[in-house]
């Protein structure tokens, strides 16, 4: 049973107004047609809802939880709803949790304290009628065909939109873009740096959790790039299968991937583009292989080096790699050239002031 957390009205408004308040009803926020025909295409950054934030509590294990604030907005032109409730698998499904009207505004909210690295379903009950969240685009469809809204908390580490084979291929693709240096990286990992922060060390291996990060942001922040990943991963798998019919694409040699990168990168070069096309890349489905490599490289980097709450960099592992690899030259003995822990909240970091 998730605890209900009391959030002040200003907290809710401070996280809602910019995105939700507006007159204009154009579909301005549907990148690459992702939300065409949906009301959420009219509001800014619908992926921010429900609001998943650090749990603001004093408990010893507070860092293991998120505060998740569910928002329902009534139409300014319509009469106010009388009762808005939340049913969610994060709490007892048979026991709806009432949302409260936020002072005299159009917003209704309820905040629950929910463990990190979990994914749950929910619906709103508006004056007795069950409805999915009109803002949040994440859904789960049950075997019965029933569609629920869905959300996940920080550092969630099971596949959301990508299949297992897609995750495996993505892991290989990103690992060689940002290869934490062979022997040195393996030594680093084998020492189990940050072993105290093992809660989210899933699928770490040597890939810094990048594939997991990408799967997470494709559900939220960069949902508009899901098509690119689904399409390009499938085509890349087919290219590799054509080249090596008897092998799992995710188990091929580094050289095979390096060749793939070269062919994607030099795609615009008239001489360099034929191999990829000959082996099955369909330009009608995704017109610029180099653009997908840009995307992979940006995501490999942000996935490795963003805060672990985004699903990569487990335990600060990629930060730790920089810290262990680079040293100052003016100090005797040399100090790390990236003392990231002093700025970051415990238990991940060691700041005595900042609490996350």
């Amino acid at each position: 049973m998730a605890d209900v957390v009391d959030k002040p009205a200003d907290y809710v408004l401070n996280h809602c107004t910019k995105y939700l308040a507006r007159d204009n009803q154009d579909t301005r926020h549907s990148f690459f047609t992702t939300y065409d025909g949906q009301s959420r295409g009219r509001i800014s950054e619908c992926w921010r809802f429900p609001i998943v934030d650090a749990h603001d509590g004093q408990e010893a294990d507070a860092s293991e939880f998120n505060d998740v604030t569910f928002i329902y907005v009534r139409d300014r032109q319509q009469p106010a709803a009388r009762l808005v409730e939340l049913v969610t698998t994060a709490a007892a499904l048979h026991d709806p949790i009432p949302l409260s009207a936020v002072s005299d505004t159009v917003y209704w909210s309820a905040t629950l304290k929910i463990p990190r690295a979990r994914r749950y379903r929910y619906k709103f009950v508006v004056d007795g009628n069950l409805t999915v969240d009109p803002i949040n685009p994440q859904t789960q469809t049950l075997a019965s065909g029933d569609v629920w809204s869905s959300f996940f908390t920080w550092a969630y580490n099971a596949p959301i939109n990508l299949e297992r084979w897609e995750m495996a291929l993505l892991d290989r693709l990103t690992r060689h873009i940002l290869p934490f240096r062979g022997k040195e990286a393996r030594n680093f990992i084998s020492r189990g740096i940050n072993a105290g922060n093992v809660g989210h060390l899933f699928r770490l291996d040597v890939s810094a959790g990048v594939a997991n990060y990408i799967d997470n942001i494709l559900a939220r922040e960069e949902h508009h790039q899901l098509y690119a990943y689904k399409t390009c991963l499938e085509m890349l798998r087919n290219v590799l299968l054509r080249r090596h019919p008897d092998r799992d694409p995710a188990s091929l040699e580094v050289e095979d991937y390096v060749a793939l990168y070269d062919q994607m990168a030099s795609f615009k070069d008239a001489q360099g583009n034929q191999a990829l096309l000959n082996d099955g890349w369909d330009l009608k489905r995704y017109g610029n292989p180099a653009a997908f490599l840009w995307l992979l490289r940006r995501h490999a980097w942000t996935g490795a080096f963003s805060h672990p709450k985004y699903g990569g960099n487990p335990g600060g592992m990629a930060w730790g790699f920089l810290a262990a690899t680079y040293h100052t030259t003016d100090d005797n003995p040399p100090q790390t050239a990236f003392n990231w822990q002093q700025a970051i909240e415990p238990p991940l970091g060691t700041s005595t002031e900042y609490r996350g």
């Binding site: 002040p8 200003d10 907290y11 408004l13 401070n14 107004t17 910019k18 308040a21 507006r22 007159d23 204009n24 301005r28 926020h29 549907s30 990148f31 690459f32 800014s44 950054e45 603001d56 004093q58 300014r76 505004t105 159009v106 917003y107 873009i177 940002l178 290869p179 922040e221 508009h224 390096v258 990168y261 990168a265 490599l293 840009w294 490289r297 940006r298 980097w301 942000t302 490795a304 080096f305 963003s306 805060h307 985004y310 920089l322 680079y326 100052t328 030259t329 003016d330 050239a337 990236f338 003392n339 990231w340 002093q342 700025a343 970051i344 005595t352 002031e353 900042y354 609490r355 996350g356």
Partner: protein
């Protein structure tokens, strides 16, 4: 809810907060309307509570968004903005180069600061320099001069002195330094400080900055510790306790600990806590002003739900950053062309409204230091500055019209995501462009790059006056509407050739400093924003300049709109010249000055 106030102030940043502070403490009822949210520091919601700001690189420039505004040169391009910058599809700025139609119209993040309580002072690097004495009288000090790089002889055509001098503003600089909370050193600065020294003590610089200091001193440039609006000691005026601020999450981050002296923690919060009659309404966007007789009688805004709401004030102060303030005057004029429109001279022949928009001439140099590496993540935004290039000798010997400040950047590129995101960038619209475009940055190539770049990069920046030009201006863009269906702001600007000459001279000095201070270096480059018309540096000035001649200025010397009895504009838009340093401290000092004029009016 209260609807009548002594003063209604639009904007909670550097231009508005000092006036709110002064008037409320004089017992006047003050309402501050702020478009953005009120993000709390730690402990603000109770002891042990968390901040809404995070040490999180994804807050700085966030995930990818796509520009969907139709008909723009960059429709379909990616953009990456901070969580407290506007959504460019809801509230775009449109940019055009008046002298090169190939540049624009395009959507840009340039010309915004931040939409949050505290405004730009939440995200800025906090460099808090005073302008030089000469910066206030650039017309009179250049009379009869011929300048380099001025083929048409028109560089000085629109240059005007400020209606007062450095000595008149100096006591307010001192007041701002004391009340805001700034650390730095006076010793070595080129400006006089007759009101005293209110700086807090600077903390130890990052060791990499020693190369910058040594380079400056080798070239005979006196160096001083860059004044930064970050407290290093307990700060009694705002009731803040000292902490450890050197954590790299500085420039472009709100500070969860409130050690960075933004206007919320330094001015507004203590005024509210001490019980003065100051009310802050965040998440409220002002849509337009309504004229009654010769006064602004009504301020129309949308509440956090978007509901239309009206308040009134005996005095109304507009301070929502230069582009948006000018836009608000113009939008109000379009609502009432015969009343407010006439009073602000909107679209009248010869009207100065919107003209002489300014940013800074800026640029610098950057190297990777060979054989040495530092932990740049333990740093503030800058450690050392020099006023050498603001002296009359320097300006005259280089045939320039004005000077500027030079300082090192310490925290730039010190965190890994920012290192990649800003690699080879040319402007704020270009985040990730350099990294993504360089496909060699993968596999071994990316590790080699890290080996070279991580903890080795040192840059020196300059910030100098930009020539005011009538063709550099703010207008309403007719075909693009914001999320409230209002016309958006149109920034039209380009550099003058003399700006190019000035920037060339300054960039070369920055290069010389690095070569003198770090002789073993891999040279990354030096240069400026000349040739890149869209760049604004987050320093947004002009467009409603003040002056002693009504024909040439929008505001009188007290920052009052000439023909409206109770309307004042106090963000950077009042400036007739942009000054040779970052503008925030001067905006704050001027607002403290204006407050002295306002108190007797209430």
């Amino acid at each position: 809810m209260q609807t009548q106030f002594d003063a209604v102030i639009i904007g909670s940043g550097a231009g508005g907060a000092p006036i709110a502070y002064e008037l409320a403490r004089a017992g006047k009822s003050v309402l501050v309307l702020e478009k953005g949210p009120l993000f709390r520091t730690q402990d603000e919601r109770g002891a042990g509570s968390l901040s809404d700001f995070k040490r999180d690189e994804m807050f700085n420039a966030g995930p990818e968004r796509i520009i969907t505004v139709a008909g723009m040169q960059n429709t379909g391009a990616s953009f990456y903005t901070s969580h407290v910058e506007p959504d460019l599809n809801d509230e775009p700025h449109i940019f055009s180069n008046p002298e090169d139609l190939r540049e624009g119209p395009k959507v840009t993040i340039e010309g915004y600061t931040a939409q949050v309580v505290g405004g730009g002072t939440q995200l800025y690097g906090a460099v808090s320099l005073r302008f030089s004495e000469r910066d206030f009288r650039l017309q009179s000090s250049n009379e009869g001069r011929k300048l380099a790089g001025d083929p048409n002889g028109d560089a000085l055509l629109h240059v005007r002195d400020w209606p007062f001098g450095y000595k008149d503003l100096e006591p307010f600089y001192a007041k701002a330094e004391r009340l805001v909370g700034i650390n730095g050193s006076q010793d070595g600065q080129g400006k006089p400080f007759p009101s005293g020294d209110f700086y807090q003590k600077p903390i130890a610089p990052n060791p990499i900055s020693e190369h910058a200091r040594a380079g400056m001193e080798t070239l005979g440039m006196r160096a001083y510790r860059t004044p930064l609006a970050v407290i290093t000691e307990d700060h009694a005026p705002s009731g803040r306790k000292a902490g450890f601020p050197k954590v790299a999450y500085v420039n472009r981050y709100g500070d969860p600990l409130g050690l960075k002296s933004n206007t919320w923690v330094s001015l507004l919060r203590p005024t509210i806590r001490e019980g003065h009659p100051l009310e802050l309404r965040p998440n409220c966007v002002v849509t337009h002003l309504g004229l009654e007789g010769s006064r602004v009688g009504k301020v129309y805004y949308r509440d956090p739900s978007g509901q239309p709401t009206v308040v009134s004030g005996k005095l109304v102060v507009v301070a929502c950053s230069a582009v948006e303030s000018v836009r608000l005057l113009m939008l109000s004029a379009e609502e009432d062309p015969q009343g407010l429109g006439r009073a602000v001279r909107y679209q009248q022949d010869g009207s100065p409204l919107g003209l002489f928009f300014l940013t800074h001439a800026f640029g610098g140099a950057e190297v990777e230091i060979i054989g040495q590496r530092y932990d740049k993540s333990i740093s503030l935004d800058s450690d050392y500055a020099t006023d050498f290039c603001a002296t009359d000798d320097f300006i005259r010997s280089n045939n320039l019209w004005a000077g500027g400040a030079i300082y090192n950047n310490t925290s730039d590129q010190c965190l890994p995501i920012t290192l990649a995101r800003t690699e080879g960038d040319t402007d704020l619209d270009f985040f990730w462009g350099g990294f993504q475009g360089d496909q060699a940055k993968r596999a071994q190539g990316i590790l080699d790059w890290l080996d070279h770049a991580f903890g080795t990069r040192l840059s020196i920046a300059f910030m100098a006056n930009q020539i005011p030009r009538a063709i550099n201006r703010i207008e309403l863009y007719p075909n693009v509407r914001d999320k409230w269906n209002r016309k958006v702001g149109h920034i039209i600007k380009n550099w003058h050739p003399h700006d190019g000459e000035l920037m060339r001279v300054f960039a070369d000095r920055c290069r010389q400093i690095l070569n003198a201070g770090a002789p073993k270096n891999d040279y990354l480059g030096y240069g400026s924003v000349y040739g890149n018309a869209v760049r604004i540096a987050n320093h947004i000035m002009g467009g409603a300049r003040f002056g002693i001649d009504r024909k040439e200025s929008v505001l009188d010397p007290t920052c009052r709109v000439w023909d409206i009895d109770n309307l004042y504009v106090t963000d950077g838009s009042f400036m007739p010249t942009s000054g040779g340093a970052n503008p925030t401290l001067t905006i704050q000092a001027n607002s403290f000055r204006v407050a002295e004029h306002l108190k007797p009016r209430l």
